[in-house]
Each structure stands twice: as structure tokens, then as C-alpha cells.
């Protein structure tokens, strides 16, 4: 079906400048201060407009058509209709438990489960909103599927990972990613994704074992330090040194295997995604992912999160540089999306997990 002997092309590029993103971040910081952070909805929208419009595919730039007011109203709706009622229910149930009403215990558990499911559903709805506001050549993106089902799936993946000591995680993470990709649309055509977790388990086994080594090292160091720690006045220096050692030890043992696993994950995901006869590959490597993540962490940390849009820009550039396409879809046959786009956006995600912060 797919003529994979055709050469891979690199139709994506990002032409946005770093200076513009930094300037916008600083302006947003000032406006957030004077509005007690209420500007954030409009600030986020401006950042997205900048990031999207710098993303060029087959010579034409993407557009972001979302509005700050849509995010603001979505936030208010989620806060008042979902979050506050749940918090009040939680407080009432906790008061019942404290005064000895044991029936309220399972009620608290149910509310906690609802929180997890709604957090997942919020992420999915946020993605739907962002895709519906993403245009290219005047054609809208979109996302089908059920947000609540996605939230329930996330809960199930979390529980399964817990009970298998993490071994269900690659399977679960891939299942979630597949659900997202499979339901992604551009225009009237859908992406399809057949990525599998099985090929990832070799990389995951190494990651899991290095996690064990990491924890064993921490425990051994903890025992050694507590034996030497006789004079309390030395303790501040020792603790500071221990933190530095902890970070280095983590980088040494876990970061590289984790990057290797993530590179495998993204490759698997891209390699098995199709759109209208086009196939994708992502030339992600552990080294380049570490550089991206390390740079992003340094920028976000040193700027106290203010320059997070810059980290988003770096990620956009990374994807544009490393994503290849085999075969170009026949754009004549991709019609405008007929899905109804959501009227307001991202409230659940903004309230429950602060997602989509750039």
C-alpha cells in the first residue's frame, strides 16, 4: 500500500526567532503581575500564535486561531461547575469521617478516583481544543474520541503500572499515545496509528534495572552519611553535597537509559503513524533528546518558569528538524473538517493539572 521506497523528505521547519519568544515572555510576565495572573489566558494565546505561525510545512505556515477569552471562560466553567463542587464534596466527606461516619471513607475514594479521571479527560479536551484552533492552508485540525474514556484509560494505566512495579507503563503509555494519534484529524481525514509497545521492552528493562541501581545507590549513600554524621554543624554542608551527588548519580544512572527509552518510544510512535498515504519517521536519538531536555530544564529553572515559552520553541524546533515524511498526501483530496469545534477551551486541564502552559 505504502510505497516506502520513496525517499523521506523533511517538509517541516520552524522559522520563529528566539528573541521574539523571550520578549513576549517578559511582556507576559509584567502583564501577569499587574493582573494577578489573570492575563495568563491571553498571554498563553499570544505565545501559541507565535509558535504556530513559525511552524512551516510544505512551504506554508500553520496558524493558531484560539482566543484568550475562550480559555478564560473554559477555566471559569471548569472551576465552578466541576472543581469547586468536588472540593466541597471532599471537605464534607472528610468532616464526616472525622466525626466517625465510616460510610464516607469509600466516598472519599470515589472522589479521588474522579479527580484522576477528570485530570486525564481535561488533558484530552485541551488537546482537542488546541487542534481545533490549529489551521494550515485554512484547513482545521481536530480530535475525535471520548475524553472521559481517555481519563478512565489513564486511571487504568496508572493502576496497572503500580501493581506491576512499572512494567505495564510502556504498554499503557503507548496505548494512550495510540488513542490520541488514532483520533487526531486534519481536515476530513484521520491519522492512523499502529505503534506497539512490545519492541520497547528491551529499552525499558535497562531503564528499570538502572532505576534499581539508582535507588540502591541512594540507600547505600544514606546509610553511609548517617553513620558519619556525628557533628550537627557539619550537616548543612553534607546535605548540600549529598544533593549535588544525588543529581549527578541520577544523571549517570537513569537519565541516559531514560532518554534511550524515550527516543525508542517516539520513533515507534512516528514510524507507525500514517496520514493519507504519507508515512512518518522521527530521527530522535538519546543524545539529542538529552540536549533538548537538559537545555529546557536549565532555561525553565534559571528563569523560574518565566521563559517556558522558549523551552516550547526549542521543542517545536526539535520536532520540525527531526520529523521526516515519506510521500506527500494528495492535498486535493483533504477536505475541510466537518467536526464541530469546541466553543471554549482547556478549563479542566487548566484546573486539574495546569497542562498546556506555554
Amino acid at each position: 500500500m505504502y510505497d516506502d521506497t520513496r525517499a523521506a523528505t523533511a517538509p517541516f521547519s520552524h522559522v520563529g526567532g528566539t528573541g521574539a519568544v523571550i520578549r513576549l515572555s517578559l511582556v507576559n510576565l509584567l502583564l501577569n503581575i499587574v493582573t494577578l495572573s489573570l492575563w495568563r489566558f491571553w498571554g498563553k494565546t499570544r505565545v501559541r500564535r507565535l509558535l504556530w505561525s513559525g511552524t512551516v510545512a510544505w512551504g506554508d505556515p500553520a496558524e493558531y486561531t484560539g482566543k484568550g477569552g475562550e480559555l478564560f471562560i473554559g477555566f471559569l466553567l471548569a472551576l465552578f461547575l466541576v472543581f469547586l463542587p468536588l472540593v466541597i464534596a471532599m471537605a464534607a466527606l472528610q468532616a464526616q469521617v472525622q466525626s466517625g461516619q465510616m460510610w464516607a471513607g469509600p466516598g472519599i475514594f470515589i472522589v479521588q478516583v474522579l479527580f484522576v479521571v477528570l485530570a486525564g479527560a481535561g488533558l484530552y479536551r485541551a488537546r482537542r481544543y488546541q487542534l481545533s484552533r490549529t489551521l494550515w492552508r485554512g484547513i482545521r485540525g481536530g480530535q475525535q474520541g471520548s475524553a472521559l474514556r481517555y481519563g478512565a484509560l489513564m486511571l487504568w494505566v496508572g493502576v496497572a503500572s503500580l501493581f506491576t512495579l512499572g512494567w505495564a507503563w510502556p504498554w499503557g503509555e503507548m496505548k494512550l499515545a495510540r488513542y490520541r494519534m488514532d483520533n487526531t484529524t486534519f481536515g476530513d481525514s484521520r491519522f492512523s496509528c499502529e505503534a506497539k509497545a512490545k519492541p520497547l521492552y528491551r529499552r525499558f528493562a535497562l531503564l528499570w534495572l538502572s532505576g534499581i541501581v539508582f535507588f540502591a545507590g541512594i540507600v547505600a549513600a544514606g546509610v553511609a552519611i548517617s553513620q558519619r554524621l556525628n557533628k550537627p554543624e557539619d550537616s548543612v554542608g553534607v546535605i548540600a553535597l549529598a544533593y549535588v551527588a544525588l543529581i549527578l548519580w541520577g544523571l549517570l544512572t537513569v537519565a541516559v537509559p531514560y532518554a534511550w527509552y524515550r527516543a525508542g518510544f517516539y520513533r515507534q510512535l512516528a514510524d507507525h503513524t500514517r496520514y493519507c498515504g504519507a508515512a512518518f519517521t522521527l530521527e530522535a536519538t538519546a543524545g539529542s533528546l538529552i540536549r533538548l531536555a537538559f537545555g529546557n530544564a536549565v532555561v525553565a529553572f534559571l528563569s523560574l518558569g518565566v521563559l517556558r515559552p522558549w523551552t516550547a520553541l526549542r521543542t517545536f524546533r526539535y520536532v520540525c528538524q527531526h520529523l521526516r515524511v515519506v510521500g506527500e498526501p494528495d492535498w486535493e483530496r483533504v477536505g475541510q473538517s466537518t467536526d464541530k469545534a469546541p466553543g471554549v477551551g482547556e478549563g479542566l486541564a487548566a484546573v486539574f493539572d495546569g497542562a498546556g502552559e506555554f
Binding site: 499587574v34 494577578l36 495572573s37 505561525s53 505556515p61 485554512g138 483533504v334 475541510q336
Partner: protein
């Protein structure tokens, strides 16, 4: 005028086609390479849709056909035709900032007022359960001092002071906990907790009596419950505005504002405490002596100072109200027993 080369998306498919665009008095005439008319965009419908990345011209939209796009590289002929892009809405921003300030002022005044009003609605039974849970967890966490002779001396002091309170305002529970801080707290539901550090620091029974009278007044005026309602209100307001739902920011703001809000409560508790001391025939200068020592050693008592600011000014206010003819409360051996309540 010569036709300009452009790229056209009709908004029905994702295909891009090359077009020739000619500016006519009524609008833009868009023709395909074969010369056939593709679209005609009226001048009134034209919308600027931003610059193309890398300075490669402009993109246009048409109000009558909102999904269609037209990209032109030689933009200098087109720019004069376009409506000006909307300027940054400074007016709206200024109005929002003013609105935020008004909201802040309203919350600043409204939260304590609302808390005073809500306190009256809290049923005493709920308040007691609330306070007992809190007291129980603090007691089991730090441990309670229970030397019988010391407890007897403490309750002798407390009963002298509480005799002048209406029965429903008397404390239900008075304990000393093994905490080194120089502090005493009143909890919702009529519990007073004296920290061992305060007894160790106190120089005379009058000082302890002054602190007890102060805390008893907090209870009579239901300040602990009001403070909890205020903290909840501040936390709720912070969560609603910032959307930060982990509670870190909310509890931080509640703690930061607690001191500012409690000044009024502290002044009222000082005045009420002096009145209790005067009525019981005790020397209220004990309270001011205690406050002065706190003011002289601020670094030793961070916990007390954080909720009890301006110790020196408060001591002066207490002195103005205190009657000069107080009597000693405890015999020397009772005072020794109270100091040794923790063994």
C-alpha cells in the same frame, strides 16, 4: 497595474494553487494560471492575516469566505488596501487592572467582615469537634505535661479568671504541651494550649495569668474560628483567581495575611484580657511585662511574634488599661509547682 503572483487556498481542500492577483477598484481579482477567475475578494471584506514568516510577504483573508487564504510575496501594493491591524487594547488592560485592584480591596475588607458574620452561624458542637480533633493531634504529637501540683496551680489561675466569664464562654480544656516555643494558642471550641517554653520563660504568675486572660478573650470572641474562616476565604480567593489548585499558593497567602488580619483580634484580646485581670483583682501589668520581654528578644520567639506583632506598642496599651492595685495570685510554692509542671 500588473498582476502579482500569489498562493491561494480555497478553504475547501488543503491544496495550494498558484494564482495571479490584480488589484481592482472594487477588490482583488484572483485568477488561476490558465486565466480563469478563481475568486473575487471585495475591498471591504479584506482582512490582514499577518506577515508570512521570514518576511516573505503577507497573508490575507476574506470575511465572506473565512476559511480561504491568500499569500502574496510582493506585499507593498496590497498593504495600503488592508484595514489597520487592531492596536494593543491598552484601555481594556487598564480597566482590567483597575477591576483587579477594586476586587482586591473588596476582598481585603470583605473577608474579615464575612468571617465575623459566618462565625455566628457555626454551631458550637461543630466548632468543638473541630477543635478537639486539632487539640488531640497536637497533644499526641508533642506530649502533655501533667504534674498534678502544677496542674492544680494552673487551674487555680484559670478559675480565678474564668469566674468573671459567662458559663458558655469558659474554656473547656486547658493543657500544657511539651513545646519549647514561647507561645500559647486558643483553638476553636474553647481549648487553650500553653507551650512549655512559655512557662519556662515567664518571670511571674501574673505573666502567665495575663497570657491566659488574653487567650480566654480570644475564645470568648470566637477568634480562632474566625481566623480559620478567614484563612479559608483567602485560600479560596487565591485559588479562584490564579487557578493554582495544589494549595501551595493558597496556604502561603493565607499564612502571609493571617498576621495582618489578626492585629485587630490581638488588640481586642489584650483589652479583654486586661478587663478579666482587673475584674479578678490580678495585676494586669504581668501581661505588659511579658510583652516587653518578647519585644526585647524578638529572635527567640518567632512563632509568637508572627501572629502577635508590635509587642512594645501592645504593652503600652495594656499599661494604660491596667489597674494599679492587683494582688499576687499564686503562693511561691504553687508558682514553683507550675514552673515544674513538665517534670
Amino acid at each position: 497595474m500588473a498582476a502579482l503572483p500569489g498562493r491561494f487556498n480555497d478553504g475547501r481542500t488543503a491544496a495550494t494553487r498558484s494564482v495571479q492577483v490584480t488589484a481592482r477598484p472594487a477588490g482583488l481579482e484572483i485568477r488561476g494560471p490558465d486565466g480563469l477567475l478563481v475568486a473575487f475578494w471585495r475591498t471591504g471584506d479584506l482582512r490582514a492575516d499577518g506577515e508570512l514568516p521570514g518576511g516573505k510577504g503577507v497573508r490575507l483573508r476574506c470575511a465572506a469566505d473565512p476559511d480561504a487564504r491568500l499569500s502574496l510575496e510582493q506585499a507593498e501594493f496590497i498593504r495600503p488596501l488592508l484595514p489597520k491591524p487592531p492596536r494593543f487594547p491598552w484601555g481594556k488592560l487598564a480597566a482590567s487592572v483597575a477591576g483587579v485592584l477594586v476586587l482586591l480591596a473588596a476582598l481585603w475588607q470583605g473577608i474579615p467582615a464575612g468571617a465575623r458574620w459566618l462565625v455566628a452561624l457555626v454551631p458550637p458542637g461543630l466548632e468543638q469537634r473541630w477543635g478537639d480533633t486539632l487539640a488531640g493531634s497536637l497533644e499526641s504529637q508533642f506530649g502533655v505535661c501533667r504534674q498534678p501540683a502544677g496542674e492544680a496551680a494552673l487551674h487555680l489561675l484559670a478559675d480565678r479568671l474564668a469566674a468573671n466569664l459567662p458559663p458558655e464562654a469558659r474554656p473547656r480544656r486547658l493543657v500544657v504541651v511539651k513545646m519549647a516555643d514561647v507561645n500559647a494558642i486558643a483553638l476553636p471550641g474553647s481549648t487553650v494550649m500553653v507551650f512549655a517554653g512559655l512557662l519556662a520563660d515567664a518571670q511571674s504568675p501574673d505573666e502567665v495569668a495575663g497570657v491566659l486572660a488574653h487567650e480566654f478573650t480570644h475564645l470568648r470572641l470566637r477568634h480562632p474560628t474566625a481566623a480559620m474562616i478567614r484563612a479559608t476565604g483567602v485560600g479560596l480567593a487565591v485559588t479562584l483567581v490564579t487557578g493554582e489548585t495544589s494549595g501551595v499558593l493558597a496556604s502561603g497567602a493565607a499564612m502571609a495575611l493571617a498576621g495582618a488580619y489578626s492585629r485587630e483580634d490581638e488588640a481586642a484580646a489584650d483589652a479583654g484580657g486586661v478587663a478579666l485581670m482587673n475584674a479578678a483583682g490580678l495585676d494586669a501589668h504581668g501581661l505588659s511585662a511579658f510583652l516587653r520581654r518578647l519585644a526585647a528578644h524578638p529572635s527567640r520567639v518567632p512563632a509568637w511574634l508572627s501572629t502577635h506583632p508590635d509587642s512594645a506598642a501592645r504593652a503600652d496599651a495594656v499599661d494604660r488599661l491596667a489597674r494599679p492595685d492587683g494582688h499576687p495570685v499564686l503562693a511561691p510554692e504553687q508558682w514553683t509547682a507550675l514552673k515544674g509542671i513538665c517534670g
